[in-house]
């Protein structure tokens, strides 16, 4: 019985809205515009942030496990003139990397854990000598951290003993193509003859200057006994710092560094951007609420006569309030759904018009949040006229005509 009673309140609310069509259309458009702005902002800024983060760490390790700079290690014998009881051995490599990798691979939060050996050398081709950073990676995990297999533009993404994968930037400068050969020289003057097996484009100038060869080749060529770093990519990019700290407490002989620690400024910029977007969205919600409260407030005065007569016929205060709450809900839901449609139109129009697409973040959250917020705001705003409707005495209307 109760639900069918609600139907009558819904029916009256609907008729009130339809009767004041012009007013209803205006407020629905007002809500729609507000929601469209909210949706556009949220998806634009969300998309921008995701794109920035993806560009920063999408094709890079999220956590680097590095050798501790100095690890206390007593040296027996050694330099007799040194009167220190404990000497420090500089360590720039991780020797027991296999144990770390095996351990880390058990963690389900970690997508990839791969060792890497780094070195710096020179490429010689004809008369050109170019300094390069050489990265020794393992396949497939090591390559997948940098998304090299996906971002290969020519050749095959394989690491064999006599071939190298080169960044697009370096290839362009040295006019290297797949199959071409070049000399790679280390800092001791030793050199190795390599073939260009593949060319990749990581989308960043630093990434495109890399020379990637197999890790074992780098280790032997640069005389590295262990590995230079263990690189991790985690499933949830924002959990990197937490995971890094967690393992930092366990692993005493290495140091861990998350992408967040290296990109504090970027994170601060992103969070300021989020706060300014939230502030704008907050004021949009306030203006939607004020609009609804004022329109329904006027409607409550306009419909005073009808409310009075409904009350004379037996409508309770609760039902009279409900008529306005339902109106608020209907305005909020219609306006917000329309607003999201406008917002989508705006977003795609923006992409089509400017040709810029850094990836609008259009998902269930950006779609549903402004709708829920607008409906909530509308319902809360409608409580003001609803209270007025509840207070109205039928006799006031009947006595005053």
């Amino acid at each position: 019985m109760k639900s069918s009673k609600n139907q009558y309140e819904l029916m009256i609310a609907l008729r009130f809205l339809l009767k004041g069509r012009g007013q209803t259309v205006l407020i629905v458009l007002g809500i729609a515009m507000g929601v469209a702005v909210q949706f556009f902002l949220a998806s634009l800024i969300g998309g921008l942030q995701i794109s920035l983060i993806d560009r920063t760490v999408g094709a890079a390790p999220h956590i680097n496990i590095l050798p501790a700079d100095r690890i206390a290690k007593p040296i027996s014998g050694g330099v007799k003139s040194d009167n220190r009881k404990v000497l420090y051995e500089e360590r720039t490599e991780i020797y027991s990397w296999q144990q770390y990798v095996n351990d880390l691979k058990k963690d389900k939060r970690i997508l990839y854990a791969a060792p890497a050996a780094n070195g710096s050398g020179f490429i010689e081709r004809g008369t050109s000598v170019v300094p390069v950073i050489v990265k020794g990676l393992t396949a497939p995990d090591g390559l997948d951290i940098y998304k090299i297999r996906k971002k290969i533009t020519a050749g095959i993404p394989e690491l064999s003993s006599d071939s190298a994968l080169l960044g697009k930037g370096i290839c362009d400068r040295l006019t290297l193509a797949v199959g071409d050969k070049f000399f790679l020289r280390n800092n001791k003057g030793e050199q190795v003859f390599l073939r260009v097996g593949g060319i990749f484009d990581l989308g960043s100038s630093a990434g495109n200057e890399l020379v990637v060869i197999s890790m074992d080749r780098v280790r032997s060529f640069f005389g590295i006994e262990g590995v230079s770093v263990i690189e991790l990519q985690v499933k949830d990019v924002f959990s990197a710092e937490k995971i890094s700290k967690e393992y930092g407490r366990q692993y005493e002989r290495v140091k861990l560094e998350s992408w967040q620690e290296k990109n504090r400024e970027l994170l601060t910029a992103l969070s300021s951007q989020s706060s300014s977007s939230d502030t704008i969205q907050f004021f949009v919600i306030i203006s939607i609420s004020l609009g609804i409260a004022s329109v329904l407030g006027i409607a409550a005065v306009q419909k005073q006569r009808q409310l009075g007569i409904l009350k004379a016929m037996g409508t309770t205060n609760r039902s009279a309030s409900k008529i306005f709450i339902i109106q608020g809900f209907l305005l909020g839901s219609t306006g917000s759904v329309l607003g999201v449609a406008f917002g989508l139109f705006l977003a795609y129009g923006f992409i089509a018009g400017t040709g810029v697409n850094f990836g609008f973040e259009i998902n269930a959250r950006t779609l549903v949040t402004p709708v829920i917020l607008a409906i909530l705001a509308a319902v809360i705003a409608s409580t003001i006229p609803a209270k007025r409707a509840a207070k109205l005495s039928p006799i006031e209307v009947i006595r005053n005509g």
């Binding site: 009256i12 007569i309 205060n317 009947i398």
Partner: protein, 249 residues
């Protein structure tokens, strides 16, 4: 008088404000079940206020209203609203139909308030009443699209739909031309006899009042005359109304 459906005992009404205005003084009336009662009196005599108090729209300041043998003691507005919906029908001078709804929907509003979606039987009954009072062809018209007389007939149908024990009518012909007014009064009188519905009507028109079974005349918020038309006859009642002035001093 046979069995009464409504009775007041020492009813007083004062409007409180910067200046307190007493409107009704010690009203003791009794409304017979199935009767047609007229409340008459000059403007400002308190007849509409009395009707609103009897219809539980305006609470009395003191005194008792006994409805169907039970004293109405609740002052809870929602309980009173439910009671009005189930037991009382109203016909006002300015019809007070909802312009957003059709004639048929207006008639069904008291049912919606009571039960939500009306049953097919109630819908059938609404159509029967519309047919009876001659507004069936206006069924789907908005009430703003029909004439004053037709609007008042629709409001009579609305008052009847919940089969109330009592119908209160406040100057139901006051806003109509003579012909339309006559038709509305005929209809009310016929419905009163056909359905044995008790009707209480406020009017300042003595001619109209003479169609009732009982007449109460109010002057300055007090009952000054009570006439049983059956006993006095219309002529006798008319004469009594004309001749006997009230002097409470």
């Amino acid at each position: 008088m046979a069995e009464s459906v409504l009775k007041t005992k020492g009813l007083n009404k004062t409007y409180f404000g910067k200046v307190n205005t007493p409107v009704l003084f010690d009203i003791n009336i009794e409304i017979e079940r199935g009767s047609f009662t007229a409340l008459i009196g000059p403007s400002g005599s308190g007849k509409s206020t009395l009707l609103n108090c009897l219809g539980l729209l305006d609470p009395q300041t003191s005194g008792e209203i006994v409805f169907d043998g039970k004293s109405i003691i609740s002052q809870n507005v929602n309980e009173l609203a439910d009671f009005r919906n189930a037991n009382i029908g109203f016909i006002f001078q300015f019809h007070y139909l909802l312009p957003e709804f059709t004639a048929y929907e207006n008639i069904l509003i008291p049912c919606w308030i009571r039960n939500g979606k009306p049953s097919p039987e109630i819908e059938k009954e609404a159509l029967r009443i519309m047919d009876r009072i001659g507004v069936l062809k206006l069924k789907d018209k908005l009430t703003s699209e029909i004439s004053g007389g037709q609007q008042q007939r629709v409001s009579i149908a609305r008052a009847l739909i919940n089969k109330p024990k009592l119908i209160f009518a406040d100057e139901p012909t006051g806003n109509l031309d003579r012909d339309s007014g006559g038709t509305v009064l005929d209809l009310m009188a016929e419905l009163n006899k056909e359905n044995n519905i008790t009707m209480v009507m406020v009017t300042h028109d003595r001619e109209v009042a003479l169609r009732a079974d009982y007449i109460y005349e109010l002057v300055d918020g007090k009952i000054c005359k009570y006439l049983e038309v059956k006993k006095t006859g219309k002529a006798g009642a008319a004469k009594a109304i004309e001749e006997r002035a009230c002097d409470f001093k």
